[in-house]
Every structure is written in structure tokens, then in C-alpha cells.
């Protein structure tokens, strides 16, 4: 195991994001960081403000989509970017927080708006190594 981490993967029209962690929560946090990285360098976002979200779903994959879509909504409505995420997942529910700041075009050089997290290739699973993986395709 190489600890919590994320990556982007190829998708013809849009972009795929993938996060890994020792728990589902960590994998969700990493997937959200991968999402931020579609827009800007996550390390360049200051933690000036904290925002919370709560989600509920019948299955893990839907919960992941809801988690990502909750942040897409907050980014868009608040004109913020988030550089750090924290979440507790219990069954079909989650409570999460993220730290970020208002978009600063000069500093963040944001690339593209994210419209939504889709159901394409949406998956949450435990790898044979015991790690959790969470992936989704974002419509940009």
C-alpha cells in the first residue's frame, strides 16, 4: 500500500478521477482532491473558510456521486475552491467538511468549470490489498 493518493484517468470527452485510501472515507477525500486538481493545483488553495456537507444514499457508488456533486454545487454557488477534504462515512451516510477560499483567477489559474459527477464508470471498491478505491467521471 502506498497511502492515500489520487490520479486522473482518460475519458474521451471529459475527465476521470480516482482516489485511494485505507478507508472509504479516505478514498472519498482523495477523489475530491483529484476533482479540485481538474480545476487548479490543490496545494495552491488556502484554507480560509470551512464548509460542511451531508449526504445520504442507498449504495456506496451513489454516495460517492452525491459527495462529489455536493462539492461541485458548493464550488459553483460560493465561487470557492477547496484544497483539503475530510469525511466520515457510516453506512449510507456521510458528513464531510472542506477548507478553501474564493476563486482568485490570477493565483489559481482555474482551467475549467465542472458541471457534474456522472454515473459513467462510477465505482467504490476494496482492492485485494485492502485499500479502498473511489472513481468517477466528471462532465466538464
Amino acid at each position: 500500500m502506498s497511502g492515500p493518493r489520487w490520479e486522473h484517468f482518460e475519458h474521451l470527452s471529459d475527465i476521470g478521477i480516482r482516489g485511494w485510501g485505507r478507508t472509504i472515507g479516505e478514498a472519498f477525500e482523495q477523489a475530491a482532491l483529484a476533482m479540485t486538481a481538474v480545476v487548479t493545483e490543490p496545494g495552491g488553495v488556502s484554507a480560509r473558510e470551512m464548509v460542511s456537507v451531508e449526504c445520504q444514499a442507498d449504495d456506496r457508488a451513489q454516495l460517492l456521486a452525491d459527495w462529489l456533486n455536493a462539492w461541485i454545487c458548493e464550488m459553483s454557488a460560493r465561487r470557492m475552491l477547496f484544497g483539503r477534504y475530510e469525511v466520515q462515512v457510516a453506512g449510507g451516510q456521510l458528513k464531510g467538511r472542506a477548507w478553501g477560499e474564493l476563486v482568485d483567477v490570477r493565483r489559481h489559474r482555474p482551467t475549467v468549470e465542472i458541471k457534474a459527477a456522472t454515473y459513467a464508470l462510477l465505482a467504490v471498491r476494496q482492492e485485494p490489498t485492502g485499500e479502498w478505491m473511489a472513481q468517477a467521471v466528471l462532465d466538464v
Binding site: 474521451l12 454545487c73 476563486v103 457534474a116 456522472t118 466538464v140
Partner: protein, 476 residues
Amino acid sequence: MNKALLRQQAECEWELMPTVGMRVPGLLYASEALLADMDEHVLDQIRNVASLPGIVRAAWAMPDAHWGYGFPIGGVAAFDPEAGGVISAGGVGFDISCGVRALRTGLSAAEVTARRDQLAEALFHAVPAGVGSTGNVRMDDARMKAMLRGGAAWAVRQGYGSAEDLARVESHGVVEEAAPDAVSEQARRRQLEEMGTLGSGNHYLEVQVVAEIHDKETASAYGLHAGEVVVSLHCGSRGLGHQVATEYARRMATAAPRYGIHLADRELASVPVRSEEGQAYLGAMRAAVNCALANRQILAHLVRQVFHKLFRLERLPLLYDVSHNVCSLERHVVDGQPRLLFVHRKGATRAFGPGHPELPEDLRPFGQPVLVGGSMGTASYVLAGMAGNDNRAFSSACHGAGRSMSRSEAMRKYRGEDIVRRLAHRNILVRSRSLRGIAEEAPDAYKSVAAVVEATERAGLARRVARLEPLICVKG
């Protein structure tokens, strides 16, 4: 694409070999070359769409079709509520009523080129674009609801543009029976500061010159003359539409099994038109369409202000405004019987042929203008709906070029600075806040729009009227 799965019906028409579960045929409009490059997933998605309840005649793919979410991009499907037909959030897409609006300036390319830098700068500052940008239109809850009901007509009442614009907007600038209350608070919250913004990604504002006329008579009726300058806008319903699509896709996917609808892919997200969820989506989607129409009306006003300031232009008449991600209630004759159908066009443009009563009188003899956007730095086209195309995808045509390379691949391959420089050598000015965004939208990351419109014409959907070449491109 494996051609063994297809049977050629005409030069640019192919039928998908039927498989179990398909209620109607799957038909693709494309040249052999476009088909060879087409994503194999399109076939699976056409099959899935053809299997949905109440589908009428066929599930179609346009020449620019590629893998979408649930429905392919470039997909057309019509459903009859009398026959248990469905409505699908996946059949409209995440950017509800994304579309193109074109304005005529009457200026010559020389007049514009002489002040190109100044114009590019002025447009870039006048039209908010990109992540985090905010519009200058103040919205509150009451105004939001009035806008969601009133569309471009609402924007005109607020002083953006004039009533004569509305005749040149699809459905006369407003979709009736929109239900603002079916739009969630979150969706409205996303829109509070987004009215009058362009967005990012493949959305753009372009100043273009009419480079070639293919059909002189129609071009003249459309007011298009070689060497003259037009302005095109490509954008949709912004955050509100994205949120409506996200929420209803989830709700429809969850509800589908309750109506005995098996979804091969959750993204197909379909429920009967005549169901609680179907009616709620219909009302919310129509509100989002009005949001997109109002937004393009406001953006056109911002463009007009710039041209007034720089060129003292009093008028920039609207050529047309048409969506390519929408579900519309339309009357079509099927096997001699008129039927009211919910026609889904996702990455496909309505293309009514000559004589259609929906068209304004001055355009009616020529067919509806179809605005097809190219990728950044490449040509766009104005087409006209062809006579007899009601039998082909219920009068639909292509919408653009379609990607041939992923964003990540484009980013690895190109640098934004190089693209800006390369286009500058071709006398195309690009203004954007994001160089990485420019790399991702590299012209070579898209298929050839020329091949797409040629196939569209050969398939009998819409004929070429004029080719537009970019002079200035403003991106998010």
C-alpha cells in the same frame, strides 16, 4: 467501429443490426470515414436508447456522434406519452439547452480587423467567462422565478435586446409550462451570480467572418454575405441547468424500476412522461431552457454594447438562436398520423425544413438556420434544415465537431502558449484566462467539422449555407 454490425442503407445512412430488447431500429447518419473513427460505445448506447419504452420510429445518431452519458452525444430519440413513452434526463444531458446564438454585424472583415486587438480586449472584459466569474445581473428569488418562466422574453423586458430578437429564437424565446418550483433551491442558488456569464470548457464567444457561401439564395435570406462579420455565442443554462440535470438524473434512475423500466445504464435515467417524476423533470427542464435562453439574450446585449461603443453600431440583428441539448414537445406525422412527441436532442440540433409553421415568415421558405460550432480556431457553419427531413430523425442535424482526443492527452501534447501563438499566425486572436484550458481545447483535439457538415448534408438532414472562419475567440 466494427462495420460488420451495420448495414448500409444509403450513402450516409447505416442501420445497426437489431438485437434483443430493441423496440425500434438504430440508425446512424455518417460518411464511411466518420463511421470508421466513431466510438464503438455509440452503438451500445443507441441500442440502449432503442430499448426504452414508447420510443417512436428509431434511435438515431448524428454524424458527430460520440460516447455520452446514457444517450450518445449526437443522439436523437422521440417518445410518445400515449404509448407509455419516457422522458430522460440522460437524453438531454448535463448542460440543458446548451446552444448557439449568432448575431450579424454588417461590418466588413477589414473594418473589424483594423481594430481587432481593441475589440478582443473589450469583449474579453465585457463578457464574464471562466471559473469563478460573476455576472452583473442582480437576481433575487422573485426575479429568478420570473426569469425561469419568461426566458429570453423576460430578458427583453429587463432591457436586454429587443422584442424583434424573439422571432429569431427557437420557440420564440420562451418555453411555456416551465415550473420554477420544480427547480431546487440549490439549483437556484447556483444561478444567483451566473446570469450573463459564458462558462468555460468548449463554450465560447467568437467574432467570425463569412468565408464562403454555399447556398447564395438562403444565405441572402439569412442576411449572410461573404466577407461580413458575425458574432457567435456557445453556452447553456449554467449552474442552474447542471444542478437540475444532476438531481433529476438521480431521481429518475432511482424511480425507473418502480415503473418497470430496466435501465441498462443508470445514466439513461428515464421515467414515463406521465409520472410524477417525469412531470417534475419536464417542468424543471423547461425552466432551465428558459434560463439558457435568457442568458444568451443577456450575453448578446453585452456584445451589442461593445460594438456600439467601438463601431457606433445601432443594431446587431439576431440571425438565430438554437439549442442542441433539449427535449421538446413537437408535432410530427408518423405513418400518416399526426402525433405529439417528446423529441430528445442531445448534441443534436433541431433542423426544421422549409415551410415549417414554427419558423418566422421571412425564413420559412428556406428552412431553419442550424448553427454548428467548430472547435477553437476552426470553421463554424450555418446550415438550413432540408425539405423532407421530417422522416430523418424528426428534423434534426449535427451540432459540432466532437472530440477526438481526451483533455488529458491534449494537455500532454499541447501548450496553451503555443496554440495562442499558432493561431495568431493565422490572424486568429484568442483571449482566455486559462492557458491550460486552451491546451485542453486545442483545435486538433476535435474531429473535422467540415466532414461532419458534409455528411449531414449528404444524409439529407441540413444543407450548408455558409462557412464562418474565426477572427477572435474568447474562452472561459
